[in-house]
């Protein structure tokens, strides 16, 4: 039951091989974490799957369809939601407006001059906000939100097209420790409820080991290990280059 199948993905930047022959798969409703030191190729890998960077080699299959060179726009329409490492939503809008914009885009109305955008599907936007716990911030400007709440807006945006796969780059970076667990519990419950698979990168090992079904460890652009949390924790190769003795 593979939803996402990544095969032999590679990318070089000049002399540096950022991602080198990386293959893995994500099963339906699975939460797969990618970990590794800075510069291991996590973000590059992620951005290639998300359409932000074009791979040099390799293929990405989503539900059997080749999406390797699809634009982010197309991926969104195919059912892949994406959140970014540094939460950057539309600073000049409030929460409801941001979500209305996503709904307008989903419905293919972004070229329209015919009606004020603020009147479009306000209720659905409010429901979307409520689903990530932002019901009290509908009229708050995004620039006034706390970072944790901004991350929630990102999540709501990614959910706007009822995705089957969520790509989350550092979903909890910059959040307070209790907020992190809360965030991942929210993701988990959304995933279980709607049958969504989640592929995420993360630095916080508590988050990774508490919430991932399987863990992919990258080092210097290559796959070091891919296994369940318990196996990864015990893997001597992973300990040597990454986790060290404390883990």
């Amino acid at each position: 039951m593979t939803l996402l199948d990544v095969q032999r993905l590679s990318k070089r930047f000049g002399a540096v091989s950022a991602v080198d022959n990386v293959s893995f798969d994500v099963a339906r409703t699975e939460m797969l974490a990618i970990i590794g030191p800075n510069g291991a190729g996590k973000s590059t890998c992620f951005n290639m799957i998300g359409g932000q960077i074009e791979p040099d080699m390799g293929t990405v299959l989503f539900d059997g369809t080749d999406i390797t060179r699809d634009t982010p726009q197309k991926l969104f329409r195919s059912g892949i939601g994406r959140t970014f490492q540094i939460a950057a939503v539309f600073q000049s809008m409030n929460v409801r407006e941001v979500l209305q914009t996503a709904l307008l885009s989903r419905d293919g109305r972004t070229a329209s001059f015919l009606f004020p955008a603020r009147r479009y599907k306000g209720e659905e936007a409010d429901e979307l906000a409520a689903s990530v716990g932002l019901q009290d911030f509908l009229n708050t400007e995004c620039r006034a939100l706390s970072y944790g709440d901004l991350k929630r807006v990102e999540l709501a945006l990614a959910l706007a097209n009822r995705p089957r796969l969520l790509l989350m780059d550092e979903p909890t970076a910059g959040m307070a420790p209790d907020g992190r667990q809360q965030m991942m519990r929210l993701v988990r419950s959304l995933a279980d409820k709607s049958g969504i698979s989640v592929l995420f990168t993360e630095h916080d090992m508590d988050v990774v080991f508490n919430h991932a079904d399987r863990i992919l460890v990258l080092n210097k652009g290559q796959v070091l290990a891919l296994d369940t949390p318990d196996e990864i924790r015990a893997d001597p190769a992973v300990q040597a280059v990454y986790l060290g003795e404390e883990a």
């Binding site: 726009q73 991926l75 539309f90 914009t101 989903r106 972004t110 329209s112 001059f113 955008a117 990614a158």
Partner: protein, 612 residues
């Protein structure tokens, strides 16, 4: 013949390289796009003229005079940096740009005061006044000297940047100014030094081309567009790139004269367009770094009751204006209505779309010329058809050029729009059969029913208002929301399915169409059209109007255009109006960066601070 062309092109390339190298250095460290760089080049030529007239009869006097000119221009550049630019280093980039344009105006008028309006011809260089025969063509010896001077200066500047501590600090500050400061590097001294070096290089270029091309008051803006093109094609901040690009562009320029005498600049800009499409950061350039502490773009809340009331009063005032029975007031009010539409169309790009265009006058001029030519061809309802087709044609042109422009971002986008505007301007000047060249097109008056100041005023008011309201509607419509989403966070917007580039492309066309309508309305109010309407100063006028009014508010461009038109009317009564306008631009950019529409907020903030 061909050898001659190539060598002339290479000699020109050296001069272009001196200017572009200075521009690139200054941009690299200070992140300022220095419009006044062409003025430094012009000053180099004039100062060298004075010095060589006095001492240049022998080689012993000539060459030191050239070097002295470069040094003097370097000092002037450093002085301008200390007095005028230092106060705006923390302002948004557009304000810095406007300040440098204020400098252009000031230097132009001062040069006129000192050297007078006549063109000056320079002394031949002693010992290099002859010519050498090569493959049957007479090549001036001086050309060979210039061709050699390019790589020599490139080498010297390279050594300075790579082998001296000062050069390392300059390169460090080019990458990250704040971090350089945190390491104890005093940027103020570094910036002044870079301005000295950059300006001296421009001055050197001006002084060295004096024996070939002389000195005149148009040099500043004539050279700035090719210099920008060289910097952009080479890649911002790359010296080697600037040299290679100068050679490519120098040759394109020379062959342009031979191949396309009606459109000499077109070839050069085509080269640039092709390079940028293949390499969006130029031949040797790096992707731009996102500036730290970037100010978030404005949101545009729906108008409140107070705002609506104010606009109703303004509109009623505008409708009642003809009661004053004063033709002069009506002419001025018509000018304001045209300017308001032009400025609002540019604001649509600057504000909601987040696209900084340096060449918006192109679409104003295309609309104007289209309207003029159509009304000349058609008897009877010429004006009506012209007014209807001008926005369509200008929009179509914007659709064409915009397709290229929106593929770039930031400074590269701005430069390409400027280049496009220069193509349009050069066509207006050179395609005399169609456009009348510098003589322009005359005798373009409204249809009989509209041929009174009052009726034409109402017509202009109605059409401008309709177009402004349409643009305003676009901001609040789904189109505008998706546009703003792309401006605020591009990758984020794309990941929710918005095609940001497509959205920007359409916005560019829409703004172009609105500017075209403004151009058409302008033609019939003046009865004539000249190439000046496509020139750089016209594009800058629009920028000044928008910034004077404030980017952060939809009412900004209307306020700004009214204020600018009235100000311009007052200043143009003086002989030295450029000087005065330059000073006003610099003062406004320095003192009121939020513009007129930002004044209430500024006053509130000031009052709050007083209370605390």
């Amino acid at each position: 013949m061909l050898t001659g062309q190539i060598l002339t092109g290479l000699a020109g390339a050296s001069v272009l390289f001196f200017i572009a190298a200075g521009l690139s250095l200054i941009f690299g460290v200070t992140k300022i796009v220095n419009f006044a760089h062409g003025s430094f080049y012009m000053l180099g030529a004039y100062i060298a003229y004075t010095l060589t007239e006095a001492f240049g009869a022998s080689g012993l006097g000539f060459w030191p005079s050239i070097l002295l000119s470069a040094l003097a221009v370097g000092m002037i550049g450093a002085l301008a940096e200390i007095t005028v630019l230092k106060p705006v280093y923390k302002a948004p980039p557009l304000f810095q740009l406007l300040v440098t344009f204020g400098l252009v105006l000031i230097i132009e008028d001062l040069t006129l005061l000192v050297w007078g309006p006549e063109d000056r011809l320079g002394q031949r260089a002693p010992g290099l006044s002859g010519a050498v025969e090569l493959l049957g063509t007479q090549i001036p010896s001086y050309d060979f000297f210039l061709i050699a001077a390019g790589p020599v200066v490139l080498g010297l500047v390279w050594l300075l940047l790579n082998k001296t501590r000062w050069g390392i600090l300059v390169r460090a500050a080019t990458e990250d100014r704040e971090m350089a400061a945190a390491l104890g590097i005093d940027q103020r001294i570094l910036f002044t030094g870079v301005f000295f070096l950059g300006s001296a290089l421009a001055g050197l270029g001006g002084a060295l081309q004096l024996p070939k091309g002389g000195a005149d008051l148009m040099m500043d803006l004539t050279v700035i567009a090719p210099a920008f093109v060289v910097v952009v094609v080479g890649g911002m901040g790359s010296l080697t790139g600037a040299y290679v690009a100068a050679v490519v562009i120098g040759l394109a320029n020379t062959f342009g004269v031979v191949l396309l005498p009606q459109a000499t600049l077109v070839l050069m800009f085509l080269v640039m367009a092709v390079v940028l499409l293949l390499r969006p950061h130029g031949l040797f350039g790096q992707p731009e770094r996102a500036e730290r502490g970037h100010t978030p773009g404005a949101g545009y809340p729906a108008a409140g009751a107070m705002e609506k009331a104010i606009w109703s009063v303004v509109l009623i005032g505008a409708l009642l204006l003809p009661l004053a029975q004063d033709d002069f007031i009506l002419v001025l009010a018509t000018d304001i209505a045209v300017a308001a539409l032009f400025a609002t169309s540019l604001h649509f790009l600057l504000g909601p779309a987040g696209l900084v265009s340096f060449g918006h006058a192109a679409y104003f001029a295309i609309g104007a010329y289209a309207a003029a030519l159509i009304s000349q061809q058609i008897d009877g309802p010429g004006m009506e058809i012209a007014l209807a087709s001008a926005p369509v044609l200008a929009g179509a042109a914007a659709l064409l050029f915009g397709w290229f422009c929106v593929r770039l971002s930031g400074i590269y986008f701005a430069m390409l729009t400027l280049a496009v505007a220069q193509i349009v301007w050069s066509l207006c000047v050179q395609w005399t059969d169609l456009t009348g060249g510098d003589d322009g097109l005359l005798g373009l008056w409204p249809s009989d029913w509209a041929d009174s100041r009052m009726v034409y005023y109402y017509l202009t008011l109605a059409l401008s208002l309709a177009a402004i309201l349409l643009l305003r509607r676009a901001v609040h419509a789904p189109f505008g929301f998706a546009l703003r989403a792309g401006r605020d966070a591009k990758a984020r917007a794309e990941a929710i399915g918005i095609d940001v580039m497509h959205q920007q492309w359409l916005a560019f066309a829409l703004a172009g169409a609105a500017a075209g309508l403004a151009g058409a309305l302008f033609v019939f109010s003046k009865g004539s059209i000249f190439p000046d309407e496509a020139a750089i100063p016209r594009s800058v006028d629009a920028l000044v109007m928008v910034l004077l009014g404030g980017v952060g508010h939809l009412a900004g461009p209307v306020l700004g255009s009214a204020a600018f038109t009235l100000l311009h009317d007052q200043l143009s009564r003086f002989d030295q109006w450029r000087l005065l306008l330059g000073i006003v631009i610099i003062l406004v950019s320095t003192l009121a960066p939020a513009g007129l529409s930002g004044l209430p907020a500024m006053i509130r903030a000031f009052a709050m601070r007083r209370r605390i």
